[in-house]
Symmetry: C4
Subunit: 232 residues, 4 copies
């Protein structure tokens, strides 16, 4: 079942390695079929070289394996919480990409310092809370999802297609898993730009809100005019 | 029409990717035919992998598409302002190359700290103003060009073959589009050198004017003696 | 003798180059056969391009060459001290990998700032003492091993599979030489993450002990549940 | 004439590019035949892709071209001064390699912070003076050589096989041009290590003199014991 989605998820996981976002097995990608209520995700701790599309486990929204011989990623519970809370998203990516992880380790949001950032995130990249001891002790991976959702209480996940889990690493998402990969790639570059900008001028100011509006809305929303017209 | 120029522009756009100056579709190159008053530029939001020379739109100096099925880059209006204001230039490149963009985000000019820089820029790399809300609201990309031209009021664009658009990213130019690409590449390396020099010694002084003169004029101007003689 | 182990050691030495952990001949890997009490190690100062598995010298635990025409690495004496002191380990790697070496040069342990680190080291990466003049004067390489062992007086080498030799560079180890290589690779990335985290926020705090426990024990020890079940 | 030496110089110039030490045409390598009193050097401003060994000009010690159709590198005069002052050296390399150039731009010597450095330089990497206006005005490239030689008044060029020309970039040398390339490569890595060590701990101390002695003399001088015995 879901052979095309398995292909997408398989390819997305390999792309994370090719793009330099994942070392060893430090990352995973998943996608959801909303009609069938099934999620396809990377198997846990398996080398990227040894995987094939048919190795991708299929699970239901409670995390029960419906198809596949391998255990799903330990981060599955986090993905499931996000899929339930953010109905617009179709794919999720988790990495320990270098610069985004440094901001997560410092528990600092990434400020919007330029148009590169504003083309993708409608303001800062948020940070979710550090988990409490109780949240870690029971259903740890589930609670990682919960603290992310809590952080998005007043944020639109389509305006901020990613988050930094404090002391941990980033999660990104998108309409498709391929877009979630693109957002992971963009997040890493804007994190690196923000770090070097801060090292050059520690008190750099965020860009003006009218410039943020211009860039984000030039590519997103009903008046977008970047790229080729979609109806052509 | 302009098939040779389309080849040059196509190749220049691919070179930006090969040289690591452009990620995703974050950049564009153009060239002008001054006799025919036509500009060839990258199409908007098209992947570099999917382009061929014949996809490059040809426009007139008012931006009307004369030939080609694809929309020109959204940055076209900026390029046109620069071609009109700087009659010596034949090609323009826009990138979000990493270190140059960090200086742009911090709105800091790049000081001339060494001979590497002095071989290409006759002094600092200038920064243009942040656009006002009114300039962003109407004809945004046109106004990016206007603020750059304003910054060059007393500067020779052949002595400073590039600029940092504040909160945004660099633009470079040259006699040809290939030279504009070379200047984009050099700008990125001198930005990276300047950043690391400042991190090592924050109060590093600019090089002496006689050393700046020596290096810039050894490669440029009537008494240049670097390289092989052009008449050979 | 020990042809399979020579293959492993040969391959490990090449992997160090491929993974960017070793430049020129700045590194070496070894493995031990505990039953036969023999160690296989890289030959000294030989280019990685020119080696074959049969070039790997076999030595006894006193460092006498039992088989092979080439001198063993000058760091052999260090490896032998570690094999004797840490009976659980089967392989050792020494590199001058960039960021780990910077922490060693600054004589600073690497604090645990995030889960990436906590998945592999159960707390900070320790630093061993600078050698005294007397320790350098006689049996220098032997004493490098001794100061490392002294540093592990109250530490479990399986909880901290590596160390920074002050003013020098890292050593890592593992159950096998392949695992020692993996630990050298991980150490380099967590050193780089810690450096950039400190540059971003100099007073970043270490992660909570309950989060450190969770991550280290999720992958190690009797209740590990990361990856595929080993008995499958 | 000197066909073998032309091959060596050609290969050394290409190695500088392969090793990431030279961008565009920012570097050159030369070698000397002491018996015939001839120097072979890279031609000026020629792309590395377009060269062949027979393009390498041969000059005498006054800089007169004896063989070859292309102009020698503009830096030839610097090389000639060094060959005359340092009779032990057989090859010279000039690059604008990134981190070494940053130290040169900041006019800071590179302190010896660890054994990686001590294996190649017997103490800090020195910086030569900024040239005066008069020195720049006449015979500029000759005077670059003169200020380097002045800096080595009390230094042994075999103990410090390289220098940073202030506000400019590094020069390295060796017994052969291949060794000069190796020293350029090592210099770049120890510059990068020193910069990151200083960013981590600005007041890092230099290594103890007994440790410096140990490492430099383990690889150099009459009691060297690193590598394979030369007489085998």
């Amino acid at each position: 079942m879901l052979e095309a989605l398995k292909e997408d998820v398989y390819k997305a996981n390999l792309d994370l390695v090719t793009k330099g976002l994942v070392l060893i097995t430090w990352g995973n990608a998943s996608a959801i079929d909303r009609d069938q209520r099934r999620v396809v995700i990377k198997p846990s701790g398996v080398s990227y070289d040894d995987m094939s599309p048919s190795d991708m486990p299929v699970v239901d929204l409670e995390g029960t394996v419906i198809e596949g011989d391998l255990r799903p990623s330990v981060d599955l519970a986090t993905h499931l919480v996000l899929y339930k809370a953010f109905p617009q998203i179709g794919g999720i990516v988790h990495t320990h990409s270098h610069y985004a992880t440094c901001f997560a380790q410092a528990s600092r949001p990434i400020p919007c310092f330029g148009t590169t950032h504003a083309d993708y995130f409608y303001g800062e990249v948020p940070v979710s809370d550090v988990l409490t001891e109780a949240e870690v002790a029971e259903d740890y991976e589930h609670h990682i999802g919960e603290v992310i959702v809590r952080r998005f209480h007043n944020l639109d996940p389509m305006h901020h297609p990613g988050v930094l889990a404090a002391c941990h690493a980033p999660f990104t998402w998108g309409i498709t898993v391929a877009q979630a990969v693109e957002h992971a790639y963009v997040l890493e570059e804007i994190a690196r730009m923000a770090m070097h900008t801060l090292m050059l001028t520690p008190n750099t100011e965020r860009i003006a809100s009218y410039l943020l509006d211009k860039h984000f809305l030039r590519k997103h929303g009903s008046k977008a005019y970047y790229g080729q017209r979609r109806d052509l």
